[in-house]
C-alpha cells in the first residue's frame, strides 16, 4: 500500500504493508526520533501527533493514516518546543533520553491545552510515557519550568 503523509510539514510518500504500524513506517523513512520501546501502547516512546492528537504510533495501523499529518519531536513549532526542550535540559530531566522525545511531545500537547498545569494535571498528561531513569521527579519539574517560562514570555 502507499500514501502521502505530511510529516513535520513536508510531504513524504510512503509504502507499507497492510498490517504495518505507523511507527515502522516512520522509522523506515528516517524518522528515527520516534522510538520503539514496547510495540504495545504502554511505554510512549513512539508517540507522535497524528492530525494534532498525541497517539502511540505503534498502535496506529499505517493503512488507517492515509494522507495524515504527522508531527514528531523534530517537527514541533520551534518557539513552543524550544522552551520545553530547554526546560528538560535545565531541570536535569534527561538521563538516557530514550523516552525524552515522547515526553516532550506529551508536554507540548498538554501545554497547548493547558498553559499552566498543576502537578496532578502534569502527571495525568504524561501517564502514557514510561521513564525508568529519572523517577519522573525532574520530568515533572521540567514541565512546570517550561510552563512558567512560556507564560512569562507571553
Amino acid at each position: 500500500m502507499k500514501t502521502k503523509l505530511t510529516v513535520n510539514n513536508k510531504p513524504v510518500s510512503v509504502q507499507f504493508s497492510p498490517t504495518d504500524r505507523l511507527l515502522d513506517v516512520l522509522r523506515n523513512n528516517g524518522f528515527s526520533e520516534v522510538k520503539e520501546g514496547c510495540r504495545d501502547g504502554e511505554c510512549g516512546a513512539c508517540v507522535v501527533l497524528l492530525n494534532g492528537k498525541l497517539v502511540n504510533s505503534c498502535q496506529v495501523l499505517a493503512a488507517s493514516a492515509m494522507d495524515a499529518t504527522v508531527t514528531t519531536v523534530k517537527g514541533l513549532e520551534k518557539d513552543k518546543a524550544a522552551p520545553i526542550q530547554e526546560a528538560f535540559v535545565d531541570a536535569g530531566a534527561v538521563q538516557c533520553g530514550f523516552c525524552t522525545p515522547g515526553m516532550v511531545l506529551a508536554t507540548y500537547a498538554l501545554l497547548q491545552e493547558n498553559p499552566a498545569p498543576d502537578t496532578r494535571q502534569i502527571q495525568q498528561a504524561l501517564d502514557g510515557n514510561l521513564c525508568r531513569c529519572t523517577g519522573y521527579v525532574k520530568i515533572i519539574e521540567a514541565v512546570q519550568l517550561a510552563a512558567e517560562r512560556t507564560n512569562s514570555h507571553e
Binding site: E33, A45, C96, F98, R132, I139
Partner: protein, 778 residues
C-alpha cells in the same frame, strides 16, 4: 567540607541532553545501515529439553532468508555473557547455540533475512524435535541428589573458586569471623527469619539491540547498546574466533541499562551474521524477548539469624543466602558475594559473623547484573532485623543505627574477606555522612512525630513510617580500571577520550566536569568522545558504581598532566617558572611580571611556534579501595487493613555520595533508583505457569511505576568529601535502590505490627499476611 570549586558541585547541563530532547541523538537502531539483514531468534518452548533435530528446509525456502544459525552449524564455544573483567568470575556455561535447552526462552536458532517479516516467518517455519527433560524450578531442591542436572562437565569456572555443575551449584561463598556459637550463647534473645525476593526486570525503555557491519578494510564494526564496549570486543573475539584487532565496538547513546546491558548476548550474534555473510546485520529485541531472554534480577532467599543482648548489642549474625541464577551462571558468584560484602560491614561492631551463600541453576530465566547487585536483596533482611532489635530493646531505631554503624576511622573484616571472585581489599572508612543523612531524613519525613503513632487516616486505614540504611561501594578495588586521554586544541578547547560508558547516567558530563575543574575552564570547552574501542582508551565499563570514582580519577590524573604541559609552555613563553604561574578561567598569569596568556595562545604556540608538540596526555586509574556511599531512606505508608493495599505517601532519601560532582545528576540517580525500587517492592514480578513460562512479559502486566504512581519524593544530598575520590566524590548510581523494600516493610510494621517476608508486597500477599496475624479489619 566546603571546598571551593569552579565546575564541580554545579548542576551544569548534561552535555548530550539537548540533542536527546530534540530527537537528534542517535541510538543503536537509529544508524542507517544499508541493506542490513534482520535477525530473529527462535526460542525454546520448553524449560528443559534436548534438541533431537532441526529442520530448516522450509525456513530457508522463504524468500529473503539468507542464513539460519543453530547448534549444528555454529561452533560450540562455552563462555559467559556476564560482561565482566578477565578472567570472568562467572562460569563458562553458555554457548551461542546449544543442543540442550535450559529455560523457556533459551535460544534454539537465529535467522538472518532481508526483512524482519521474512526473518519472523522463517523462525516459525523451522521444525524442531525436542525430547523434554524433567525441569528444575525450585532453587531449594536444586542441589538435591535426584535433581535434574542442567549443565555438563564441560561447564567450568575460569577462576579457581567453588563450582559444581553436577549439583547445579553455580557459586558458593562462605566467610566467618569470631565464634558464632559463643556469640549466640551470649545473646539474650535470637531472631531468625527467612526473606524472599522475586525475579525482576531492568525495563530500560530501549530494548536490547545491536548492529554490525564490515568496514572498508573488512574489520567487524559493532554498534551496540552496551555498558561494556571493551568486554564486548574481548568476548566477541573469543566466541567468534576473530582477532581483537579486527573488531571495533561503538557505543552510541543508549537507552538505559541498570546492569541489563552489561550482558553480552546479542553482539556475538550480529557479529556472526555479519562476519559469515559480509552483510550488515541488526537485531532489536521485542519487549517480551527482553523480559524473557535477556537478564533479570536474581531472586534470593535469605535466612538471617541474629543474636542480641538486651541492651541491643548484636553478639552474632548468620546470613544464609540462596540465590536462583536460572539457566546460566551470569554474575552468580559476584552478586551473591555482594549480598554480603556491601551489607555486612555496615554494622561492623558485630564480632561473630558467618555469611554462607549458594547460587544454583534452575530452568528459569537467567539472572544478571542489576543495580543494587545482591545488596538490595540482603538489605531487605538486615534492615528488618535491625528494626526488630531496636524495637525489642526499646530503642529509637535512628539512635540505634547511629550507635552501631561503621564510622570514619573504622573498618570491617568483611572488606578483606569478601571480594569479587577473590579476596577483597582491607580498607578504613575515610568519609561517612550517615548520621547527617539520618538526621536530615528524619526531619524530612517527620520521624519523631509519626513513628509508632499508627495514625488512622480513614476507616480501615493506618499509617506508619520506616527506615532503611545501606551502603554500597565505589567500583571494584584493584580490579576495575578506567583510563582517559586528552589533547588540546588551539582555541583552548580539549578533546577528552574515555572508555567509560555513559548509559544515560550523565557520566560523559561528570567526567567533563572533572577535567574542566582540573584545567580551570568552563565545561563547554571539553569535547567528550566516549566508548569507541578504536578511538578511546580502555575502561571496564559502567558497572559496580565505578565510573565517577575510578574513571573520574583517571580523568583527573590525565587533566593534571595536560595542565602541567600547559604551564610548561606558558613558563617558556613568559620566561617564568611553572610554579610562579596561576591559572584562572583559561588564563595563565605570571604575577611578578603581570603578564598573562590565554590557553588558546599557549596551544597555538605549542603547535606552531617553537619546539612544536601536541599538548596531550593519558592516564589510567585503579583504586586501592572502594569507599562506600551511605544512605538513609524513609518511607511513610498507608495500609488498608481491609484489603492489604499499601500506598507509599512519602519517600525520603538522604545520601552521602561524597562531593556530588553534579548535584542534579546525583539526585536524578537517586530518584530513578528509588522509583525503580518502589515498584520492585510493590508491583514488579515475574509470573510463571507450571511449565516455567513467564506469563506477563509486557508492560501491561509487569507493572512499573508511571507519573501517576509517585509518592511525594524528597532527595537530600549530604556531602562528606571522600579524600580518595576525584574532588571528593564517591558513587551514587546503585545505592538508592536498596531502600524501598526494607523501608516500606519497616513502615508497614510500624503501621500494623506485622512483618513482611516476601516481595513484592502485592495487595493479595499482604492481605494474606494480615489475615495470618489476625490484623485484618472489615
Amino acid at each position: 567540607m566546603n571546598k571551593k570549586f569552579n565546575t564541580v558541585g554545579k548542576s551544569v547541563r548534561k552535555i548530550d541532553s539537548l540533542s536527546l530532547a530534540k530527537g537528534n541523538a542517535l541510538f543503536t537502531d537509529d544508524f542507517q545501515l544499508k541493506d542490513a539483514l534482520h535477525i530473529s531468534i527462535l526460542y525454546s518452548p520448553h524449560a528443559h529439553a534436548e534438541i533431537l533435530s532441526i529442520d530448516t528446509t522450509d525456513a530457508l525456502a522463504i524468500p529473503g532468508v539468507i542464513r539460519i544459525f543453530h547448534h549444528e552449524n555454529v561452533p560450540r564455544v562455552l563462555h559467559t555473557t556476564a560482561g565482566q573483567g578477565f578472567p570472568e568470575p562467572s562460569a563458562y556455561d553458555t554457548a551461542m547455540f546449544d543442543k540442550t535447552m535450559r529455560f523457556v526462552g533459551d535460544r534454539v536458532a537465529a535467522v538472518a533475512a532481508e526483512t524482519k517479516e521474512a526473518a519472523n516467518a522463517a523462525v516459525k517455519a523451522i521444525k524442531v524435535e525436542y525430547r523434554e527433560l524433567p525441569p528444575l524450578f525450585d532453587p531449594e531442591t536444586a542441589m538435591d541428589k535426584d535433581a535434574p542436572q542442567l549443565h555438563g562437565e564441560d561447564a567450568k569456572m575460569p577462576i579457581p573458586v567453588k563450582y559444581d555443575a553436577s549439583r547445579n551449584l553455580a557459586a558458593e561463598v562462605e566467610i566467618k569471623f569470631g565464634d558464632l556459637d559463643k556469640g549466640f550463647q551470649e545473646a539474650d534473645f535470637i531472631l531468625e527469619d527467612t526473606f524472599h525476593t522475586q525475579y525482576a526486570a531492568h525495563c530500560a525503555i530501549e530494548p536490547h539491540t545491536s548492529a554490525a557491519y564490515l568496514d572498508e578494510r573488512g574489520r567487524l564494526v559493532i554498534i551496540t547498546a552496551t555498558q561494556v564496549p571493551f568486554h564486548v570486543r574481548r568476548i566477541v573475539s573469543r566466541v567468534l574466533d576473530i582477532p581483537i584487532r579486527d573488531i571495533r565496538v561503538i557505543k552510541p547513546r543508549i537507552g538505559g541499562g541498570f546492569g541489563g546491558k552489561q550482558e553480552v548476548f546479542l553482539e556475538q550474534l550480529v557479529g556472526l551474521s555479519t562476519w559469515s555473510t559480509g552483510r550488515p546485520s541488526r537485531i532489536y529485541l521485542t519487549r517480551p524477548e527482553v523480559f524473557v531472554s535477556s537478564r533479570t534480577r536474581h531472586p534470593m532467599r535469605v535466612t538471617l539469624k541474629t543474636g542480641v543482648k538486651n541492651d541491643g548489642e548484636i553478639t552474632a549474625l548468620e546470613m544464609d543466602a540462596l540465590m536462583n541464577n536460572g539457566a546460566y551462571g551470569s554474575h552468580a558468584l559476584t552478586v551473591l558475594s555482594n549480598g554480603g560484602s556491601k551489607v555486612l560491614p555496615l554494622f561492623n561492631k558485630i564480632k561473630n559473623i558467618r555469611f554462607i551463600g549458594h547460587t544454583v541453576y534452575t530452568n528459569l530465566p537467567v539472572g544478571g547484573a542489576y543495580r543494587g547487585y545482591g545488596a538490595s536483596q540482603t538489605y531487605f533482611a538486615l534492615n528488618q532485623h535491625i528494626d526488630m532489635v531496636a524495637r525489642k530493646t526499646g530503642q529509637d531505631l535512628i539512635s540505634f543505627v547511629k550507635k552501631w554503624h561503621i564510622k570514619v576511622g573504622e573498618t570491617s573484616p568483611v572488606f578483606q574477606a569478601l571480594g569479587e571472585g577473590k579476596e577483597g581489599v582491607a580498607q578504613i572508612i575515610k568519609s561517612c555522612g550517615l548520621d547527617e543523612c539520618l538526621d536530615k531524613g528524619a526531619a524530612a519525613i517527620g520521624w519523631y512525630e509519626k513513628r509508632g503513632k499508627r495514625i488512622k487516616s480513614a476507616p480501615g486505614k493506618v499509617r506508619g513510617v520506616g527506615l532503611s540504611v545501606s551502603m554500597q561501594g565505589s567500583g571494584i578495588p584493584k580490579i576495575d580500571m578506567g583510563s582517559a586521554s586528552m589533547k588540546m586544541n588551539e582555541d583552548g578547547s580539549f578533546n577528552l577520550y574515555i572508555g567509560a560508558t555513559d548509559l544515560g547516567t550523565g557520566s560523559d558530563t561528570i567526567l567533563a566536569q572533572i577535567a574542566a575543574e582540573t584545567l580551570d575552564i568552563p565545561v563547554e570547552n571539553i569535547i567528550v568522545l566516549s566508548s569507541d574501542t578504536d578511538l578511546t582508551p580502555f575502561d571496564v565499563g559502567a558497572y559496580a558504581s565505578s565510573t565517577t570514582y575510578i574513571s573520574g580519577a583517571a580523568v583527573k590524573k590525565c587533566a593534571a598532566k595536560v595542565r602541567e604541559q600547559i604551564l610548561g609552555v606558558a613558563a617558556k613563553m613568559l620566561n617564568a617558572k611553572p610554579d610562579e604561574l596561576k591559572v584562572n578561567e583559561s588564563v595563565v598569569t605570571h604575577a611578578e611580571s603581570g603578564k598573562s596568556l590565554t590557553y588558546a595562545d599557549i596551544c597555538t604556540y605549542a603547535m606552531y611556534s617553537n619546539d612544536q608538540f601536541q599538548i596531550q596526555a593519558s592516564a589510567s586509574n585503579i583504586a586501592p579501595e572502594s569507599p562506600p556511599p551511605f544512605i538513609a531512606q524513609f518511607a511513610e505508608v498507608e495500609v488498608d487493613l481491609r484489603t492489604g493495599k499499601i500506598r507509599v505517601l512519602k519517600f525520603v532519601s538522604a545520601v552521602d555520595c561524597g562531593q556530588p560532582i553534579n548535584p542534579a545528576l546525583a539526585e536524578g540517580q537517586v530518584e530513578g533508583a528509588v522509583v525503580n525500587g518502589l515498584s520492585y517492592a510493590l508491583t514488579e514480578d515475574y509470573l510463571f505457569d507450571s511449565k516455567g513460562r513467564m506469563t506477563n512479559p509486557r508492560f501491561w502486566d509487569f507493572k512499573i511505576f508511571t507519573t501517576k504512581d509517585l509518592p511525594e519524593m524528597e532527595t537530600i544530598l549530604v556531602n562528606s568529601y571522600e579524600e580518595t575520590g576525584p574532588y571528593g566524590a564517591k558513587s551514587v548510581g546503585e545505592i538508592a535502590i536498596n531502600g524501598p523494600i526494607p523501608a516500606i516493610a519497616n513502615a508497614f510494621f510500624d503501621a500494623t505490627g506485622v512483618r513482611l517476608y516476601e516481595t513484592p508486597y502485592t495487595p493479595e500477599r499482604v492481605w494474606k499476611r494480615l489475615k495470618e496475624e489476625n490484623r485484618l479489619e472489615n
